[in-house]
């Protein structure tokens, strides 16, 4: 038996008091919610602002975990599949289709709060936002659709109207643009992000992606023609422009070295209208070419089934994605509002008259392809091989068609394909 001194007694008492204090403090700690979001300087910043207000109003501390897009996608899927369950609310889009079954249906919450009222019509429907078994699992909070942004002066000089029915029309216009504007390339695009080439294909290809019997399948002649159109267009990129980052592609347009940039408008419109922008007042947006659809970017919030406090998660969704903060998020962070009322705001309408009509028209027709990550990567990587001359359009599309046969269509994607008219009838 160790001898008990006054010092050891005091130390023991202190240890007991400290442990009790820690236990009391942890039980009295504010509720906590973990939220995963893209680290973009926009979505994460907006979340931090809303989180501060949210804590003041509800006492719930929202921990924001922000990651670059690819990391966010990987972290979200790994968190769900491994059962780590670190995040209570997740940001994502249709590319999470492989893990839709891990998300909780939110229909009851939507109905209880009549949440869809006032949202852009059709946004909360299969093929645009995410559904499983007919139940809504994704709540939209940031909308964008591929856009064609053009330099008005260069178009005027070339005598071109920015109304293109197809990518072949764009290619034809490129010849005139280059002839009329010295040292200018026709267009820029984030070619270094391999998946982005899909934006051209989805709009140029106006057929289905899923066969009657529920298999991934293309209309091969139509898909080949669409791929050939893209390959022809690729010749009009700037010199050494086949591995551009988003920033490089956008800067080329700002520096007036290209007449068009084809990108997600929310990434660039604020900077084009900044006071120091050389193209301020000299740019516009055209209706997106092609008979397919502009590629939709619809950021949504998902609640994993493992989230313990779903009411708190829903409260956070309403605070972050609801109409109250929509205007602030749009003005300060260029997060495309999913609420119709934002686009009726007279002040914003007047300020953005040079591109909002085309942008809003894009929202109305934009969709997501009903493709799993594997199926989409196969298509877009093959398209990259086609435009780089590694394989012909016919051989490349035939290869996609044959390899898609081995890739199962997730149930949620079948639902989306049927809902958005992208399944063969």
């Amino acid at each position: 038996m160790y001898p008990t001194t006054k010092r050891t007694k005091a130390a023991t008492t202190m240890a007991v008091i400290s442990t009790a204090a820690i236990l009391l403090a942890s039980s009295a700690m504010a509720a906590e919610l973990n939220f995963s979001v893209m680290e973009s300087g926009t979505y994460d910043k907006a979340a931090a602002e809303v989180a501060a207000d949210f804590k003041a109003a509800t006492g719930t501390d929202v921990q924001i975990s922000a990651f670059p897009w690819a990391v966010l996608r990987q972290n979200n899927t790994t968190d769900l599949i491994s059962g780590t369950n670190q995040y209570d609310v997740m940001s994502g889009g249709y590319y999470l289709s492989d893990v839709y079954s891990y998300f909780a249906p939110l229909d009851d919450y939507i109905a209880k709060d009549n949440y869809a009222q006032g949202m852009i019509p059709g946004l909360l429907s299969p093929g645009r936002s995410e559904f499983v078994g007919g139940k809504s699992i994704g709540i939209p909070y940031g909308v964008d659709a591929y856009g064609l942004i053009f330099n008005k002066d260069m178009f005027e000089k070339a005598g071109i109207s920015p109304d293109f029915a197809s990518w072949s029309d764009v290619a034809a216009a490129c010849d005139k643009i280059i002839a009329a504007n010295a040292d200018v390339a026709c267009f820029s695009h984030p070619t270094g992000s391999p998946e982005q080439i899909g934006g051209f294909f989805f709009s140029g290809y106006a057929r289905t992606y899923v066969s009657k019997d529920g298999k991934y399948s293309l209309d091969v002649p139509a898909a080949t023609a669409a791929a050939e159109e893209i390959a022809a267009l690729w010749k009009y990129l700037p010199a050494k422009g086949t591995a551009l980052t988003f920033d490089e592609a956008h800067q080329l347009f700002k520096d007036q070295k290209v007449a068009m940039t084809i990108t997600y408008p929310s990434f660039i419109t604020n900077s084009l209208d900044a006071d120091d922008s050389p193209v301020k007042g000299h740019w516009g947006m055209a209706k997106f070419p092609g008979k397919g659809f502009p590629w939709l970017s619809l950021w949504q919030l998902f609640v994993p089934t493992a989230t313990e406090d779903k009411d708190a998660a829903w409260a956070w969704i309403k605070a972050y994605a609801g109409p109250e903060n929509a205007k602030r998020n749009l003005v300060e962070h260029n997060i495309g509002s999913v609420w119709s009322a934002t686009y009726d705001d007279p002040e914003l309408k007047a300020k953005n008259a040079h591109f909002w009509p085309a942008l809003i028209a894009g929202f109305a027709s934009a969709k997501n392809p009903p493709l799993s990550g594997e199926a989409q990567d196969l298509l877009t990587n093959t398209l990259q091989d086609i435009v780089n001359g590694r394989v012909s359009a016919a051989d490349g599309i035939a290869a996609v068609e044959s390899q898609w046969a081995a890739i199962p269509v997730p149930a949620a994607m079948l639902e989306a394909a049927a809902g958005s008219g992208l399944q063969e009838k």
Binding site: A243, E248, G373
Partner: protein
């Protein structure tokens, strides 16, 4: 005359160790002491290997189900050998491994010949040369991606300043392949150089002096004495670097993401995508086993070559 001394008695340890040694013998007790380490090896190495081998015969995609699907025999292996992207990845990986390793061996040997010695300057140079090797491969890829940016990267800016129109390093399929070979060689040449420097330092000085006395020139000494003597180490280094090149993932991920298209997909990158992006666990396991067997065959070839060289050296 001194009397021969008897060998000292070996003292047996007392207590439990002594009793165990008496029962199991010296070898037995040594084996017993190895058991904890063996258990760690089995747990950390053999179990995952065996588990992945078993999984490769089942149909399991984590995105479809959290539990393992039905037994499908060799279907995953058949798919591996008929998958054009897998074949494309094998082709690029072989090109990367062969070209990069060859470049590393040539440059590494050259650097080793130039920096062998014990002067302060040479030691400093060797330390500096090690730097690329100690940078995290992800950082290496990210730095090189910026350097090789065709339009705004410093390399093409530097080339432009001397009137050379730099290529589209990462955007052109052929240049992308070349760029990755160059990056891999840049990162790992120091490893080859350091290892070969150690080999050169350990060469017996008498042989060199004898060659010099016999009038052998520098090239003759290198060709007929130095190279044959360091050959076993050279082959070993070649084996390490070839196998490592087969495992290249991080620099591909950070520079080209396997592109343009499928141009720079390595085997490891493809397996990573199948397993951790698309969650096709059993297909990734089958592909991994094919790659493992491929690497074992390569290692076997190199070791056989090394044995023949050693036998040749002994016979001389």
């Amino acid at each position: 005359m001194r009397q021969p001394q008897p060998y000292p008695q070996v003292r047996r340890p007392a207590g439990i160790v002594g009793r165990l040694e008496a029962r199991l013998g010296e070898s037995g007790i040594l084996l017993l002491f190895l058991v904890p380490a063996l258990l760690v090896v089995i747990g950390a190495q053999l179990y995952p290997l065996a588990s992945s081998a078993i999984l490769s015969f089942f149909d399991w995609s984590l995105s479809r189900s959290p539990t393992v699907g039905p037994f499908i025999g060799f279907d995953n292996y058949v798919r591996t050998f008929t998958d054009p992207i897998f074949a494309n990845s094998v082709a690029f990986t072989v090109i990367l491994a062969v070209c990069s390793t060859a470049l590393q061996l040539v440059c590494g040997l050259g650097i080793a010949m130039l920096t062998v010695g014990e002067s302060y300057t040479l030691r400093l140079v060797r330390t500096l040369l090690m730097l690329p090797m100690v940078v995290a491969p992800v950082a290496v890829g990210t730095i090189w991606r910026m350097i090789l940016s065709a339009r705004v990267g410093p390399l093409n800016q530097a080339l432009a300043s001397i009137g050379i129109d730099g290529p589209n390093w990462l955007g052109d399929p052929n240049w992308a392949v070349f760029s990755l070979i160059m990056i891999d060689a840049w990162e790992w040449t120091p490893f080859v150089a350091i290892t070969l420097t150690a080999a050169l330092t350990s060469l017996p000085s008498e042989v060199m002096r004898a060659a010099s006395v016999d009038g052998a020139g520098r090239w003759t000494t290198f060709r007929y004495i130095v190279l044959p003597m360091i050959m076993p180490i050279f082959v070993l280094v070649a084996m390490f670097r070839t196998i490592e090149a087969f495992l290249t993932l991080d620099i591909v991920f950070t520079t080209t993401a396997g592109g343009p298209g499928y141009t720079t997909h390595t085997l490891s990158f493809w397996i990573y995508q199948q397993g951790l992006k698309y969650f096709n666990i059993s297909y990734a396991a089958a592909s991994s086993w094919v790659m493992l067997l491929f690497c074992v065959a390569i290692a076997g070839g190199f070791l056989l070559w090394r044995r023949r060289i050693t036998a040749w050296q002994v016979s001389r």
